[in-house]
Symmetry: C2
Subunit: 126 residues, 2 copies
Amino acid sequence: MEAPDEPGAAVTTATSPRDLAHPARDEIRLEGVLHALSDPMRLRVVRELAATGAEVSCSSIELPVTKSTTTHHFRVLREAGVIRQTYRGTAKMNGLRRDALDALFPGLLDTVLSAAEGQAARLNAP
Amino acid sequence: MEAPDEPGAAVTTATSPRDLAHPARDEIRLEGVLHALSDPMRLRVVRELAATGAEVSCSSIELPVTKSTTTHHFRVLREAGVIRQTYRGTAKMNGLRRDALDALFPGLLDTVLSAAEGQAARLNAP
């Protein structure tokens, strides 16, 4: 789960090469979140993070795309405010920013997750 | 409001130059819907259609973009299955495919509309 981020907290700018830039809660925009969720691979990442309910490393989520494309997808999710990425030693860990998303857009994340589950069941896809 | 479209109805292919192509209900994908909703102008169109609750002509929704960009946005919404576009005489009329969206992705449209309202209020934007 994410570290608490208060509205207006200045967490936008990376302060060291190992701190990744994240939008503060009040900088997160609906359009950016919807865009981040509009890709099948990114939606899969979000479903896995939601199912796990904990931080996971990038490498523990297997996507049928190249490593650099995977990195790109995680970056889009981070920059939109959907996930928080933090280094733990050499691993980059990822967690859903559920508190921020639920506060800004009540019900949105759960509705999208349910819709994704329903669609996967209809299409007989993972 | 949209004409009823039954699951599996073969309405994908345009049958005359004045019939516009729409995905059948079971061809509508969550990712495409989220992408269609991820643009501020398209989100504004959807909010206006939802508020009106009726078919409206393209020209009655004023967007601060060129006519060709407006046409593009309506096409993205139609091809994603979010709106139905039909000719009435010389006017192209637009209606939300609420029945289809609510059946496929329960609660999604209303949650996005609420999130957009909330964000507009926070940002003091239209």
